[in-house]
Amino acid sequence: MKLLWALTALLLSYFRADATTVPIIITEPSEVSNQTTAVLSCNLTNPNLPIKGSYWTHNEKPIDESRSDSTAAYTVYRLEKITYHNGGQYKCVFMTEPQVTKTIEVKTLPHVGAYKHSEHGNEMDKGVLTCVAHGHPLPTDWVWVKEKDGKTTPILNGTGDRYEIKSTPNKTILSINELSIENDIGDYICSGTNELGTVSDKIHLRVRSRLAALWPFLGIVAEVIILVTIIFIYEKRRKPDEVNDGSAPLKSNSTANHKDKNVRQRNSN
C-alpha cells in the first residue's frame, strides 16, 4: 500500500513537473462568430521562461501595429469593425524560447461578388459567368439560379446539356454553351453559403447577334456611295470641258496666268 502511494506520488510529481514546463495560453474569446467588434486576448499562465515581447498574426502574416516589447504575459488585440476583410485565423505569439502561440478564429459571412455584373456573349458561342468569394470561412456550397420575369429557376450541373458548373470554395463558374438570344438573356444569381449564412450577387447576361453589325456597315457604305457620286457630279458640272486629271495640256495658250505670276510662257500661235 505504501509502495502504491509512493508510486502515485512519483507519477504525480512527474506530471506536475511536466505541467510546469508547458505553458498554457487562455484565449478570450475562444472563437468569434457573427460579431461586429471583438477584443481578442491571450493570457499566458505559468510562464517559466522570460518573455521578450509579443505580437499577433493574421492568417500567418504578422501585424506590425500589434508588436509589443512588454514582458507581460497578457496581450490584447482589438478588432473595431469585423468584415470579410479582417476575418480569418488570428494567432497571438509570445516571444519566448521557444515561441508559444494560440489561434483564435474570427468567422464572418463571406463576400460574394461577380467578376463583371454585366456579361456579354456571342450567339452560338460559349458564355461564362464567374463569381468569387472572399472571407473566412469560404463558402462550402454554391447555387446558381436564373431569374427571368420574376421567376427563378435553379440551374444544376448538366441541366439540358448546355449548363456546366465548376465550383471551388473561392470561385464558381457557370458556362452556357450555344447561347441563344431568346432563351439565355436575363439575370443569373450566384449564392455562396458558409456556416454563418448565404450571400448572393446578380449578373446580367447579354447575347450579341453576329449579324447585328451588318446593318450599320451597309448604312455607312450607302452614305459613302452617295457622297462620292455627289462630289463627282459636282466636279463634272463645274468644268465640263476640263481634261481628265493627270494629263496636262502641252501648250498653254491662255493669257490668264500672266496677271500676278512671274511665269514666262511661249505661246505657239
Partner: protein, 437 residues
Amino acid sequence: MTSRRTRPPDGGYGWVVVASTFFIMGLTAAVLKNFGHFFLDIQSHFGVLTSTTSWVTSTTIAMFHIGAPAASALTIRFSQRVVIIAGGLLCSLGMLLASLDLSLPWLYLTMGVLEGTGISFSWVPAMSMVNHYFARWRPIAYALASSGECVFSMVFSPLFKWLIETYTWQGALLIISGLQLNLCVCGALMRPLETTLTTSEDDAAVLPSKRKVIFQCSLLKQPELLLYILFAIFAAAGFFIPTLFLVPFSTSLGIEKYWPAFILSVLAVADLAGRLFCGWLANMRLLRNLQLLVIVTTLTGVVLLLLPISHNFWAILGFSMLYGFLFGCLVALHVTSIVDIVTLEGFDSGLGLFMLFRSIGGFIGPPAGGWLVDQTNDYSAAFYLSGFCFISSAVFVVLVDRLVQRKKSAEAEGQQTGKVKRDTVTQEPFLEITLPD
C-alpha cells in the same frame, strides 16, 4: 526642256483639302493608334500570347512605312486623288476580310498587310496634297490637317471600346471597315492642281522623252536629305519609347488605378495644342523651319532627360504635358521642313524616302529601350535613351540647316548672274533658259 510646275493656290479650295486631310489623318493614323483595344479579345479568342497579337500592329506599321515610297511613286505617276481612293478601298477591304475571322495568320494578312498598305496609300498623298496646295500658309495648313490624328484618336478610344462591347470585335472591325471607306470620299475631294508649263526649245535633238520622273532616287545623293533622314531615324527611335514606358514608370512610382491612363490622355491633348501652336508660330516666319525644328528637338530631349527625376504624380504630369506639347511641335514641323530641303517638286519622293528610313528608328527604338530597362532594372534608362536620341537628331538638323543655307547662298550668287531665278511666291528656284527669237 519641259518642266511641269504647279502653282500653290494658298487658300480657296486649299482649305477643303485641309479638311479632307484632317479626316484622312483621323481615319488612318487614329485607327492605327487604337488597335490596342482589340488585343485582349483577339488574344483570348485565339488563345495566344500578347506578343503574338502585337505582331498585327507591327505588321501594319511596317507596311505603312514600306509602302510609303510606292505611294509616292504612284502619286507622281497618277494623282493624289486616285491613290487615296485606292488606299481607302484597300483599308476597307482589309478590315472587312479581317472581320471574317478565319485564323490568326489571316489577321496578319488582312489587318496587317492590306490595312497597312491602304493607310500608306491614303496618308502619303494627303500629306503631299496639303504641301502642294500651300506655300505661305503651309505650316498652319499642315498643323491643322495633322491635328485630325489627335482629335480622332481621342474620339475613337471610347468609340472602339463601345463598338467591341456592343458588336463583338468581329462586328466592330466590320463597322470600322465602313468608316474607313469614307477615305474614298476624302480622296474624291482632292482636286488636282492645274499645271502650267514653261516650255522652251532647247537643242532640237533633245526630245522630251521622259516628261515625268517616276521617282527621284537621285535625291538620296543630296547630303542634306541624307542627314535629314538620319535625323528621322534617331527621332523615330526616340518617338515611340516614352509612350510605351510612361505607364509602367508611373505605376512603379506608386501611382495606381486609372491615373497613369490619365497621363496619356493629357499627353494627347498637349500634342494637339503643340501642333496647332507650332503651326501658327512657324507661319509667322520669325525663324526658319529648320531652326525652329532644332530648338524643339533639343528641348524635347532635355525634357525627357529630366523626366526620371520626378517622384510624384504632379511632376510626371507636368513633364508629360511638356513632352506632349513639344512632340506636337516636332510633328508639325518635320514634314513641311522636307520642302525646304528638296523643294516642292522633289517633295513626294523625299517624303517616301523619309517615311521608309524612319521605320528603321521605329523598329530599333522600343526594343532597345526595353533591353536597357531590363539591364538596369530601372525605367529611367528608357527615358535617358530617348532623350539622347532626340538630342543627337537635333545635331543632324543643325548640319542640314547649314548645308541648305550654303546651297541657297550659292543660288543667290547664281541669281546675280541671271541664270537662276526665284519664284516670288514659293521662293523656289527654277532655271530659266531663254533663246533668242
